[in-house]
C-alpha cells in the first residue's frame, strides 16, 4: 500500500499546459493526414482509422502522469515552526 501511495500521480501547471498542447497537435495532425489519405484512396474509413491511431497515441502520451509533466514544481513556502506560534500568541495577550 505504501508503495502505491508513493507513485506520484499529479502533474504540475506547466505540465498541464504542455499535455493539452501536445494532444491537440497530435490529433489535429493525424486528422489532416487521415483526411488527405482518405481522399487519395477514396475511403473515408481510412481517415477514421488514422484519426483513431492519433487518439491512441495522444492518450498514451498525455493521459498517464508522465514525469515530463512534473518538471516545474511550485515553490511552496517552507512550513513555519508550529511549536513557536502558540507561544508567540500567548505572549501578545
Amino acid at each position: 500500500m505504501e508503495f502505491f501511495k508513493s507513485i506520484p500521480t499529479h502533474i504540475d501547471y506547466v505540465g498541464q499546459a504542455k499535455a493539452e498542447k501536445l494532444y491537440r497537435a497530435i490529433i489535429t495532425l493525424f486528422s489532416i493526414v487521415g483526411f488527405v489519405w482518405g481522399y487519395i484512396v477514396q475511403q473515408f474509413s481510412q481517415s477514421v482509422y488514422i484519426l483513431g491511431a492519433g487518439f491512441i497515441l495522444a492518450a498514451v502520451l498525455t493521459v498517464p502522469p508522465w514525469p515530463m509533466y512534473r518538471r516545474n514544481p511550485l515553490n511552496w513556502q517552507n512550513p513555519r515552526n508550529t511549536e513557536e506560534k502558540p507561544a508567540g500568541k500567548k505572549g501578545k495577550k
Partner: protein, 179 residues
C-alpha cells in the same frame, strides 16, 4: 487537465469533434459531384392483362407485364462518400384519370465495391405494374426511366435520374393466357 479522468475526457471530446469536422468536410468535398450518367434500356416483351386487383378494389384493372434490357456503367458514381446506390426503374405515363402515373417496376441495391457495370438481358419486372383502371391497354407512350438514390456516409440523399429513357407501347389487345 489535472487528473487522468479530465485528460481522458478532453482527448476523447476533442477527437470526436475533429471526427465530426472530418465528416462534414467529406460531405463538402462531394457536394459538387455530378452523379448523372447514361443508361440504355429497352423493352423486350410487353403484354397487358385485365384481371381482378384483389389488393385494391377487386375490380378488373389493367396489369402490365414486360421484360427489359438494361445496360449502364455506374462505377464512376462511387466515391468516398457513397456507401450504396439504390437503383429503381420507373414507368411513367398519362391517363385520362391521372395526369401522371409513376410505377416502380424493378429495383436493385449496389453496394460500394460490388460490380457496378450492369448489362441485363430480358429481365423480369419485380413488382406488379397495376394501373388504377383501364389505362394501359393500347397506351402508346409509356416511358421507362432509371433513377438512383445515393446513400452517402454524410450529407444529402439525392435521387438522380439517369440520362436516357425508353418509350414503349402496350398492345391493343388483352392477353388472356398466362405469361
Amino acid at each position: 487537465m489535472y487528473s487522468i479522468l479530465t485528460r481522458g475526457n478532453a482527448i476523447l471530446t476533442y477527437t470526436l469533434s475533429v471526427l465530426a469536422c472530418l465528416t462534414f468536410l467529406c460531405f463538402l468535398s462531394t457536394l459538387t459531384v455530378d452523379y448523372r450518367t447514361a443508361a440504355q434500356m429497352n423493352t423486350v416483351k410487353v403484354v397487358v392483362k385485365n384481371v381482378p386487383d384483389y389488393g385494391a378494389s377487386r375490380e378488373k384493372n389493367d396489369l402490365g407485364y414486360l421484360t427489359f434490357d438494361l445496360k449502364t456503367d455506374l462505377s464512376s458514381l462511387f466515391n468516398w462518400n457513397v456507401k450504396q446506390l439504390f437503383l429503381y426503374l420507373t414507368a411513367e405515363y398519362i391517363t385520362p384519370s391521372n395526369e401522371l402515373n409513376q410505377v416502380v417496376l424493378w429495383d436493385k441495391i449496389i453496394l460500394r465495391g460490388e460490380n457496378a457495370l450492369l448489362d441485363f438481358k430480358n429481365m423480369n419486372i419485380k413488382y406488379y405494374f397495376w394501373d388504377d383502371g383501364n389505362g394501359l391497354k393500347g397506351h402508346n407512350n409509356v416511358t421507362l426511366t432509371l433513377s438512383w438514390n445515393i446513400i452517402p456516409n454524410a450529407g444529402l440523399l439525392p435521387n438522380i435520374p439517369a440520362i436516357g429513357q425508353h418509350s414503349f407501347k402496350f398492345p391493343i389487345e388483352y392477353t388472356q393466357t398466362r405469361v
